[in-house]
Assembly symmetry: C2
Homo-oligomer: 561 residues x 2
């Protein structure tokens, strides 16, 4: 059995190592086009920012380790330039010697990854414009930035990089890598502008959650130019760059980072005549087998089923890539492992804040035409409010109306964010409902959580809605209801809702006569907890009432921009 | 419908508030013996330590709030001194006026909590010996400690508390409250000794995990006297105390904290003739109904089913108490809610370390005579090793051999501990197997986790064992196997295992001839990862081999003390 693995990072490397553990006799050849295998590409922005000081820290494993420990014929700077599925051969080009050889395989595993998108815009190949995919990419960016710091003539260098004034970076793309780059460039002292074609950063978030990220970025000095596509790049007289946008703006830049997104590397798959999916990734079955039964594919290059929606999706994440690599090794070794799909769990840290998400978001469900879902906004504390240092977590929970199944969650905050998303991710994986979340028994001590954890609230509030105890509405669809604000007057002095009647909660039972019986009463408070109590009082006194989810706190999310 | 709720903290307060939300018309009377309702007893040690500065921070809700917002007749300093289940009445004693009145109920809810155990030892009532249960307890302890600081005569005060030398505290009991108190007293500048009857602190942990906690405590200056019961207390000539132990020791003390454990308050239940369970708690059904169908009981006073083992257990935790209170409100309001049992999820922070656990531990399973389980020791990083600041997490995972069901987990470390236990707690709740954990999709970015999260490892390693890929053994049962250490020589120079043959992993394939074919080879490395690779090589070359779980790292846990 000879297995050739194309691509030596994440999925490919995981597959190779596990295959050797399962089959000591298999002949395994792993080829990698670049100079390194098994490197930490998720760490590249942090290396550029100087948080990860040494480039060598990024090299998780080496060619030598694969040879010595796993007895794998591991070749870097070696590219597959041809595939013949009929003959079951690949053409390998050694980029050091230039030699091309032919190798036979019994099973072929494609783990080519995804390439940063470089649209064919005018000037895109100008010096100073970089993508962030490989260790050499990171090295070039570091060198480009540091070049300007090495002397102090006060002039631009020949590369156009200024030597003694604040350097300006434009990051094109407001996704995970774009924002991690933005933060890391700020840490290096650059002035950073993020140009994003969409009207929000971080596409995995719904827009109202992204608004909070945008404000946090701006607070830390990042300029945002949303809703504006790049039309081209220009070199100015002093050698620096300008990023031109469709709206006619010109953003000056000493360095440009392209982080528009990635596109599955399907060149080899197409060469082999393999089926490509509707999203542009290699189509595979649950065992990661392509349309050719002897060729498997894993990682950023393949389409996988979204665990929640059942839709094909492209997910460029290291976790799923590693799992897929292991599954292919199992299958090649004769086991029946299956990939269960992805739920898109992801996290990013930006200027001290954590933003994480799992499962489906509202945008996606709406795009798919689904109606059987509801959402709530919650603002729990990261830990017991009476213990110092508690921070508010902004939590959006999406669940199925018909059966309470948890569909997705998005969370942001300064503390305790990703642990709630991890618990919710586990819940989604196991098919949990919001009724299960109500009963979850999680770690509680004052520095860590609350007796009712945010994860419990993510169950209790939706369950209150589904049981009919708390009819819900949202600021985006008030439908002409009668607005009742049950906060206390000092809170209204800070911010109030025009047209809302104020009856503080403790006075409500005595003042029911002031409320209309022929209109639906929409109840407002700070976070929707007191409004829930008020809604209960109103409903049981024969009023029609709904709670405005998230209260004034969700209103301020929607109001931003 | 008139409902009387006895006890206004956690379970009682939750029940009262939810019952009002569900039933605006019910007549609800909540009585609390102490001066406060709904206070944060979990915060008491931190208030004593000064972390939570203001006593008022501990008061989560007040009598006034219950009256004004929930229209609940809430009475503090009011104790139930008699119950007549036949007449459905209780005798209430007002501790302010001394008046005793009789109140009728339709439904009675008992939430009396559990009382700190005060064994009838000689001297237990001496001044300077305190329990930590209520806000007044905490106040008395603070005052006792601060009394010595208020002047500087260099003498003992009349209470025996020294004024200008380091004060000495003895904490009796090494459970959660005892250790939280120990840390907080150290923070206040006291010399602290913990006396514990068992041979370990923190009973929810298995002893080898507790060893690490003990070393951490000692590193931070806490003296431990394990395996030694207290026999009495004595006042010395200078007015200070001595804690006398069964082994004949005398620990000098200026203050003694009793944190031996708690005992369910079953006085009222016994007075009402209610069934008491075998563990000494009030016996209830899944709807928290006692043997009298009109009387419910919740919180620390009741026995509940352990979710994992099915055994009756006493769990003094705020989370389950709150959930039980809600369930009783549901049931009284005519709903069919059921308590699913407890899994004992708990966490404690001690001197910067976090220790957390969920589900069953090995001690318990062994005591129950269960054989269908296995354990693994893991030492994953809190986040990607290539990102600065990663800390080792010590993780013990217990799973069922027959079907892979996750049974329990214990974790310790300086970072990222409780979030893994939360994810595993959710997994246990949902009946997950280690095969599910392998596929878990959790948050990964370099500052937060790894592409293979510790939770994934908690699945992959057990699954390797269950699939037969990695036969396992433990340091405690080497059964005369042949010891093979596959680490590199520099690692052996630091610490080696007597009698083990060293063949570094990369040389193993070439040196198989040095190994016996007639004996089982037990493979050692640092954390058991390389040993796993070696085990695979050996098994596939016809050797009998097992991996020693946790390698040198678990050996050092067991070797401590």
């Amino acid at each position: 059995m000879k297995v050739i693995i194309v691509g030596g990072v994440a999925g490919g490397a995981s597959c190779a190592a596990r295959l050797r553990r399962l089959d000591e006799k298999a002949e395994i050849l792993m080829v990698e086009r670049g100079p390194y295998v098994s490197y930490a590409n998720c760490g590249l922005p942090y290396h550029i920012g100087g948080v990860i000081e040494k480039e060598s820290s990024l090299l998780v494993s080496t060619e030598q380790t694969f040879r010595a420990v796993f007895a794998i014929d591991c070749r870097t700077r070696c590219e597959v330039v041809g595939i013949s599925p009929k003959k079951k051969t690949v053409e390998l080009k050694n980029h050091v010697t230039g030699a091309v050889t032919t190798e036979k395989y019994d099973r072929l595993v494609l783990s080519p990854g995804a390439a940063p998108i470089r649209p064919p815009l005018p000037g895109i190949d100008l010096p100073g414009i970089f993508s962030v995919r490989t260790v050499p990419d990171a090295r070039e960016i570091r060198e480009w930035i540091e070049r300007g710091s090495s002397d102090s003539t006060g002039e631009h260098t020949s590369s156009g990089f200024p030597l003694d004034k604040t350097k300006r970076a434009v990051v094109v793309g407001g996704g995970y890598i774009g924002l991690e780059m933005a933060e890391n460039l700020v840490h290096r002292g650059l002035e950073v502008t993020v140009v994003e074609m969409l009207d929000q950063v971080m596409a995995p978030l719904d827009p109202e959650c992204a608004r909070l990220v945008e404000r946090h970025l701006e607070k830390h000095g990042v300029r945002l130019a949303l809703n504006d596509g790049v039309s081209g790049f220009k070199q100015t007289a002093d050698g620096s760059l300008e990023v031109l946008t469709k709206s006619g703006k010109a953003h000056p830049a000493d360095i440009v980072i392209l982080a528009i997104g990635v596109r599955p590397e399907t060149g080899l798959a197409k060469m082999a005549g393999l089926e490509i999916g509707q999203r542009g990734g290699i189509r595979v079955d649950e065992q990661m087998r392509t349309s050719d039964p002897d060729i498997f594919a894993v990682g950023d290059a393949v389409e996988v089923k979204d665990f929640v929606t059942g839709e094909w999706s492209l997910i460029a994440l290291a976790g799923p890539a590693n799992r897929q690599g292991r599954i292919v090794a199992d299958v090649i070794a004769g086991r029946s492992s299956r990939f269960r799909g992805t739920q898109g769990t992801s996290v990013i840290g930006i200027f001290g804040a954590t933003i994480a998400a799992t499962g489906a978001n509202e945008k996606l469900l709406t795009r798919l035409g689904q109606k059987d879902f509801e959402k709530v906004y919650l603002f729990p504390n990261s830990h017991a409010g009476y213990y110092p240092g508690a921070k508010t977590i902004v939590l959006k929970v999406i669940f199925r109306k018909s059966d309470g199944r948890l569909l997705g969650a998005q969370a942001l905050g300064l503390d305790g964010v990703e642990k709630r998303i991890d618990a919710l991710a586990m819940a989604i994986q196991m098919g949990a409902t919001v009724y299960d979340l109500e009963e979850a028994e999680l770690c509680y001590a004052p520095p860590f959580g609350s007796a009712k954890d945010p994860v419990n609230f993510a169950g209790m509030v939706p369950a209150d809605v589904l049981r009919g105890d708390m009819p819900l509405c949202h600021w985006t669809s008030l439908d002409g209801g009668f607005l009742l604000d049950v906060r206390n007057p000092p809170e209204l002095a800070v911010e109030s809702v025009p047209g809302a009647l104020n009856i503080p909660l403790p006075e409500l039972r005595a003042r029911l006569g002031e409320l209309p019986r022929d209109r639906e009463i929409l109840v407002i408070c700070r976070s929707a907890q007191r409004a829930y109590y008020a809604t209960r009082i109103l409903l049981q006194n024969g009023f029609k009432a709904r709670n405005i989810s998230g209260g004034m706190l969700s209103r301020s999310m929607l109001a931003a921009k």
